[in-house]
């Protein structure tokens, strides 16, 4: 009976779910109570933990959209490397077809990289369309805003003023 086997297959999953839930609850409620420190609430316990660095300012600030573009480009090449590792390990046994396929894959990504490079999307200050007012900003500074001829006062602060102040 296919229906019965289907149900049996899912019974395994059900068992996993039940035990998984029990495991978490038992550890949190029973085991944890025995093991964990008896110290009560302190000021330090409620602060944000960020890799050991003391935190400052609010996290609710507007981030420059250019971070996002760079992050996407990074993610693409990050994933490319992940794909290339298994390919590199077996390339010899697969022969020239595998080499061609990977070459096409890397080639397409290469064209994409050349494109965004040429279009200035990975420059911190866009290469075209924006003119930087001399002496106002420095490349790489977080508070850099491409002014594009608009008076600086009309542009909302995009980067993290809190960071600048704290420093």
């Amino acid at each position: 009976m296919p229906q019965d086997t289907l149900n049996q297959d899912f019974a395994t999953i059900l068992v996993f779910l039940v035990f998984g839930a029990l495991f978490v609850i038992a550890n949190m409620v029973l085991v944890g109570r025995l093991i964990r420190s008896k110290t009560k609430y302190t000021e330090g316990k409620s602060t944000v933990y960020e890799c050991g660095e003391p935190t400052f300012g609010s996290a609710f600030v507007r981030f420059d959209i250019r971070f996002y573009v760079l992050a996407v480009v990074f993610a693409i090449f990050d994933v490319e490397v992940v794909f290339l590792f298994p390919w590199a390990a077996v390339m010899k046994s697969l022969g020239p077809v595998a080499w061609l396929e990977a070459a096409a894959f890397v080639g397409v990504l290469g064209v994409g990289l050349a494109y965004i490079w040429r279009k200035g999307d990975i420059d911190w200050i866009p290469a075209h369309g924006h003119t930087r007012q001399a002496g106002k900003t420095l490349p790489g500074e977080l508070t850099t805003v491409p002014t594009d001829g608009v008076p600086a006062a009309t542009i909302p602060a995009i980067a993290t003023p809190a960071v600048a102040e704290a420093r």
């Binding site: 022969g95 397409v108 494109y115």
Partner: protein, 515 residues
């Protein structure tokens, strides 16, 4: 790590050796993918600035792909790596590919004629080719991974096209809304697909249909069917996922709205027909549509409920619209409803095949009449800067050719004789009536009557409403515009009067897997 890699090598080597896929059968799609790269490289070499080169390049490449599909032979058998056939370029996908490519060609033409400044012009063509390639693969996908990849390619490129004028407030709104709804519906559909895979253990549509037939109706499968339908409904702009449609169509540039309304909808219906009726390469395996005959069939229930809600919602909401572009968006929703109504009776028997042929036929007609109507919107946006229906006032006297052509398109969209739209509607309703679903057909007919009212609104403005002094229509179509509009209107009349038999035969051949 170490035991895994040699194993992987073994398996991959087996796959590679068993069969190098016959790439010639993927040619039109491959050409479109190649064009994505070619245009990027051309743009890289040329540098910035608009150019008349891109539209010519795009239209040329699309025309070549169209001819390749039209004159290429359809070889039976699925394409894919090793034991994973994923694409079946059969007659059904072939006719839909022609629809996509024709729409793509016309869209480029419209963009060219709209004389709008599209920033980063080359990118527009890159995205368009991406969308076309995705649609071509979607129409022939026969397993879930390929299907989902192609589906998402069509979605993502659609988001980009809809929000292409991101500096425009409405354009940004259109893009954002499309992305939000798209992400949710995609997640819902993916969840449904994972349930289907969990139950059947296969990615192949034909195997899934077989396993589902054996499994009977189970709660989880009902859930899966509803979820998967959610993804389809989103792209087809059908109830309950139609909310994005009016805002996106209104905010997008008019040519893009035309592309989404015709090509995107055709792509999802092509995929839907394949999911429901694909019975393996030989066509002998039971298809999902075998399950649809029973009264308790969940798929059929979903389709009928959605069809009734979609056409009613679309038609009644269209009544109150004053913007032609928005009205056409609601009209596109209503048409999705009519198509779903017929989709609920498709199958592999004779009547079911007639229903499928009706849907294919309707898309061929819909392509002409809807693109023509959107060209009028393009002209309105270009010359008058608005898509408001009142901008058409007095057209009947000032530009009679344009007005009469547009009137023919509207008649055809309504489904009035002697236009092709009438024949199309007839072929959509006939299988439903023949199957004995009188109530469903009656709801469709009432909706058709309602649609008469809002399609008549532009007619009243063009021919009856008196012009206000100093507010004459600003539309100034030149000879090329009139030629284009006429080229869309004339086939509708010819097909409506005597040419429709051949097209019906074409549609019947396509669904009968005859090359």
């Amino acid at each position: 790590m170490t035991p895994f890699l040699p194993l992987l090598a073994q398996e991959t080597a087996k796959l590679e050796m068993s069969s190098m896929p016959d790439l010639s059968r993927m040619l039109p799609g491959g050409l479109l993918c190649l064009m994505v790269i070619v245009i990027l490289v051309v743009d890289l070499v040329r540098g910035k600035g608009p150019s008349a080169l891109y539209p010519k390049l795009s239209m040329g490449a699309i025309a070549v792909a169209f001819l390749m599909v039209l004159f290429g032979t359809v070889k039976a058998g699925a394409v894919g790596y090793g034991g994973f056939p994923s694409l079946d370029p059969d007659a059904l996908s072939r006719i839909f590919k022609l629809v996509f490519l024709a729409t793509g060609f016309v869209t480029v033409l419209f963009v060219e004629r709209s004389r709008q400044a599209f920033g980063r012009e080359a990118e527009f063509h890159v995205i368009l080719f991406g969308a076309l390639a995705g649609m071509c693969y979607l129409a022939s996908a026969t397993e879930m991974i390929g299907f989902y990849l192609a589906f998402e390619t069509v979605s993502y490129t659609g988001f980009l096209l809809a929000g292409y004028k991101a500096d425009d407030r409405r354009g940004a709104e259109a893009g954002t809304k499309f992305v939000m709804f798209g992400a949710v519906s995609s997640a819902v559909m993916l969840f449904g697909l994972s349930l289907v895979y969990g139950f059947t253990g296969s990615m192949q549509f034909a195997v899934i249909a077989e396993k589902l037939a054996a499994a009977g109706s189970q709660p989880a499968l009902v859930l899966a069917a509803i979820f998967v339908f959610g993804g389809f409904a989103f792209k087809a702009a059908a109830f309950p996922m139609q909310w994005w449609c009016p805002d996106v169509y209104e905010g997008s540039p008019a040519p893009v709205a035309a592309f989404l309304a015709v090509a995107s909808k055709a792509a999802v219906f092509a995929a839907g027909l394949r999911v429901l009726t694909y019975g393996g390469v030989s066509g002998s395996a039971p298809a999902l549509s075998h399950l649809m005959g029973h009264d308790s069939s969940i798929v059929q229930t979903i389709l009928i409920c959605s069809a009734v809600a979609t056409m009613t919602w679309g038609n009644f909401a269209a009544l109150r619209q004053s913007s032609l572009q928005r009205m056409l968006a609601y009209s596109s929703i209503a048409h999705a409803g009519y198509l779903l109504m017929t989709a609920s009776v498709i199958g592999t028997d004779k009547l079911g095949q007639e229903a499928m042929a009706g849907i294919v036929f309707y898309f061929l007609i819909y392509l002409v009449m809807n693109l023509g109507a959107f060209y009028v919107v393009t002209l309105m946006r270009r010359d008058a800067g608005t898509a408001d229906i009142s901008a058409l006032r007095g057209m009947g006297r000032r530009h009679p050719v344009l007005a009469v052509s547009f009137a023919i398109m509207l008649f055809s969209l309504t489904g009035l004789p002697p236009t092709a739209g009438f024949v199309g509607k007839l072929q959509l309703f006939w299988p439903v009536v023949a199957k004995g679903y009188y109530l469903l057909a009656a709801v469709g007919l009432v909706n058709g009557a309602v649609s008469l009212y809002f399609y008549a609104k532009p007619l009243r403005e063009m021919f009856l409403a008196a012009e206000v002094e100093g507010e004459e229509t600003r539309l100034a179509p030149d000879g090329v515009d009139l030629a284009i509009v006429t080229a869309f209107a004339v086939p509708l009349v010819i097909l409506g009067l005597f040419g429709w038999g051949n097209v019906t035969q074409m549609a019947m051949d396509a669904v009968a897997r005859v090359p």
